[in-house]
């Protein structure tokens, strides 16, 4: 696990795979199995993620560990750690709302602008630069920014 905490997400390199919450568990072998789950079914980063895990394992002399992808229960943004959320915000990406709060409302709560901290924000597009993000803008400082979608 400590090894994986140093592997960055290929598309948002400030957050590690453990902070992103996609590492499910390590099952004792033989062979030992590392179980991971994808964020989005069609996320093109999945291949890069698998490759970087493989390289890290091999580099640490753990070539016997197998990587297995399991879908259920499906990944949710609630699994992003608190330190991961802070890292996203500092990087300029508004972290996702907690899922329970999101489901309790009809529409998404205004995001906090990562540039100036304003709550006066609006969605520009439901789909952003990667599957996991939507495009928002700040009504105070006028900067556009990415927001992690709550799923």
């Amino acid at each position: 696990m400590a090894l994986l905490a140093h592997i960055p997400d290929p598309e948002i390199p400030v957050i590690s795979l453990t902070d992103l919450g996609i590492i499910r568990e390590i099952r004792d072998g033989p062979p030992p199995i590392l179980v991971i789950t994808p964020t989005y079914t069609g996320c093109p980063a999945s291949i890069a993620i698998n490759a970087s895990i493989r390289m890290a394992l091999d580099g640490a002399g753990l070539a016997d560990v197998q990587i297995k992808t399991e879908l259920s229960p499906p990944w949710t943004t609630d699994w992003i750690s608190e330190s991961g959320r802070q890292a996203l915000l500092a990087y300029g990406i508004a972290p996702p709302e907690p899922r329970a709060a999101r489901l309790a409302r009809q529409d998404e709560a205004p995001a906090t602008c990562p540039q100036c901290g304003s709550h006066a924000t609006a969605e520009i597009s439901r789909f952003g630069s990667t599957p996991c993000k939507a495009l928002w803008r700040c009504l105070d400082c006028a900067e556009p920014f990415d927001r992690f979608k709550c799923i």
Binding site: Y40, G42, C43, E70, L71, S72, P73, S125, R126, F127
Partner: protein, 233 residues
């Protein structure tokens, strides 16, 4: 059972994902371009998992790629709606609206009732298709409630796609029709659009009888693997 269901769900996603990819670089605005590409990507991911499950259940050593690249037209089990040409933007939105609304009803049900391999994919994808359905419904309202031209195009797009909707509700999926109708009608009312007049439904895709468009899609989709079998990057 698992093979047939996973194949039809996977083929739906594969073919519609390919259609949406045709918009890449051609959509009316950058935001829409990104949205259609993202939805296409989600569908491609669904296709990979569903066809992977179909191949595993079949047990003849065929993986998702083999099923996507090495089957003939009459071996595909997608519904006819998803293989229809993009047309203008309104027709693409109409197709997405009708299809994603259907997937958004079907997947939560499959997550509870289907074989474990399919249920896990449906549960995962349900979150994504709810997003697709909302995106499409918002555009139906925007176009229907927009200018007289956007209204006319949206109505035309819906009317054109309507004949392929009966096929979504054959056999096991018939039970979703009332709820689907009510979702569709609620959005159309909001958009100031009338529900298209009933037409005789065209079916056959689930049995491998396709419109002339599927062969053209496959000739683009399968070209590389047909000419250079087993080519890799």
């Amino acid at each position: 059972m698992t093979v047939a269901l996973a194949t039809s769900l996977g083929d739906d996603a594969l073919i519609l994902g390919q259609r949406l990819a045709e918009w890449c670089g051609h959509a009316p605005t950058l935001e829409v371009d990104l949205a259609l590409a993202n939805i296409g990507l989600d569908l491609l991911g669904q296709a990979q998992f569903f066809l992977g499950a179909a191949g595993a259940a079949e047990g003849q050593g065929r993986d998702a790629d083999t099923l996507a690249y090495r089957r003939r037209e009459d071996e595909f089990r997608n519904c006819l709606l998803v293989e229809q040409p993009n047309g203008d933007f309104a027709r693409t939105i109409a197709r997405q609206f009708l299809f994603s609304t259907w997937q958004a009803l079907l997947f939560p049900d499959l997550a509870q009732s289907a074989a474990p391999a399919i249920a896990a994919i449906a549960q995962k994808a349900a979150k994504e298709v709810a997003y697709h359905a909302r995106f499409a419904a918002e555009w139906v309202v925007r176009l229907g409630d927009g200018t007289s031209e956007s209204h006319r195009r949206m109505a035309d797009g819906l009317a054109w796609c309507w004949r392929f909707t009966d096929e979504l509700f054959m056999d096991d999926t018939a039970k979703f029709r009332p709820e689907w109708d009510s979702h569709i009608n609620a959005t159309l009312t909001q958009a100031g659009l009338a529900t298209p007049k009933p037409v005789r439904g065209i079916t056959g895709g689930r049995h491998g009888r396709h419109t002339e468009h599927l062969g053209h899609i496959l000739s683009a989709l399968q070209y590389l693997q047909r000419v250079y079998p087993d080519a890799t990057w």
